[in-house]
Symmetry: C2
């Protein structure tokens, strides 16, 4: 077994119940969205129209094994924690077998862990990692392109970067299209509808220094918001921070 | 009106009934596949799993105007000739309004015209264009990745190229991912299941010189075969060579 398979096994056994940041370093981690088959076309179209917030790693349309990206996996059990939305009410679960059935289609979407690891390897500062907190996330005025029942604002993550390192940061993150790619916005937060950088909509606030520039990347919460607002009878997603670990190398 | 809009108008009026090669130079031309909504998820998934033969330019899931790529267009009338498959029997049409209804979802897929124009601009020889015939196409042993009801072999176009120009050809075509991108195979045709280069499955045979290397690219006939073999009640596609002309610049 490779380290990713070993980690999935330990998560399935219940011995790794926490967030997955730092687990199985070197392997791509993903967001998970499961929707009923009747909504699968609209959601896949939403992902293809909004590839930066929704970078498709794999679509599992038959069963619960992510055969292409994680051989032997079980998407019902291999994430430490899930969110289950049933007719508008939400609960948390560590195993979604009771809610899963053949009608569910699973989408694995890339997350920013891969490019953050690359930034750190290159010696660039990633503030929320330095501080040991969650990345700050903002609902912006940048609307995603709707598809059928799915629509909503683009959520972006915020990372401050010293001015002389901005170009290098763009260059590195652009090499990771499957991890949200290059930034959507660099500079004045007001231009994307953010009035106060100290009040993120999700995650934790981080300080920005005098010679630092605010940088914003598309965030996987974008499809989560779109899915939760679509009025579906049943939706299953990962719980934030509790990702699916694939067998794919996270080197660009 | 730009030249692409003008050309679409003339096609709609019936004054340009022939193939579209050479029309509205500088604008991207596309394949068209229309399927019933019940098959749209499987077909979109087939395209995302096989991006080289099926490069998505736009999906029209609501109406018949390709709003993103061709403002004011009418996909029922703006191609010079269509193929209509109804319960397994095929007919040809210049206007598919009688068969179109709101249940149809339209897929526009890139075609190789864009990269051929780029090769010619760079002074590289494109044999079938020099000879004024159709590009030769072969059904290969390279299977596409199935998605639901869609599967089948990858069809490839063949272009011979002088050995010293192979690298340049790869470099240029890789800049056109929305026009099938770089070649899928370079060299011995037997490795992809082709026994006789003089007997293409579609299009016309072209000669290959002594110091020339066979090069093969993914072809838009791949999704056509997959769609025709899926047993759908109704499918509408462009007639080969009679493409949809978009407002998108075909420069990389």
């Amino acid at each position: 077994m490779n380290p990713a398979q070993e980690t999935r096994q330990r998560i399935r056994d219940g011995s790794l119940p926490g967030p997955t940041a730092g687990l199985a370093p070197g392997f791509v981690q993903t967001n998970l969205v499961m929707v009923p088959r009747s909504a699968a076309f609209d959601f896949l179209l939403f992902c293809t129209r909004n590839p930066k917030p929704c970078p498709l790693i794999e679509v599992v349309d038959n069963g619960y094994e992510a055969k292409a990206s994680a051989s032997g996996s079980d998407l019902r059990k291999d994430l430490p924690r899930y969110r289950v939305m049933l007719n508008g009410s939400e609960e948390s679960a560590e195993d979604v077998t009771p809610w899963w059935d053949d009608d569910m289609v699973s989408f694995l979407l890339g997350c920013s862990f891969s490019f953050e690891a690359a930034l750190i390897r290159a010696g660039l500062p990633v503030r929320h990692i330095e501080l040991g907190c969650n990345v700050p996330m903002f609902i912006t005025s940048h609307e995603s392109i709707p598809a059928g029942i799915f629509s909503g604002p683009t959520v972006m993550t915020f990372r401050p970067m010293p001015a002389h390192l901005v170009d290098k940061t763009i260059e590195i993150t652009e090499q990771y299209p499957h991890a949200h790619g290059g930034p959507l916005h660099v500079g004045d937060p007001a231009e994307i509808g953010i009035s106060d950088l100290t009040q993120p909509d999700f995650g934790d606030a981080v300080p920005i220094g005098d010679n630092e520039v605010p940088m914003f990347w598309a965030c996987g919460v974008t499809p989560q918001l779109a899915v939760f607002n679509a009025g579906l009878d049943k939706v299953i997603t990962h719980d934030p921070g509790h990702m699916f670990i694939t067998d794919i190398s996270d080197l660009a």
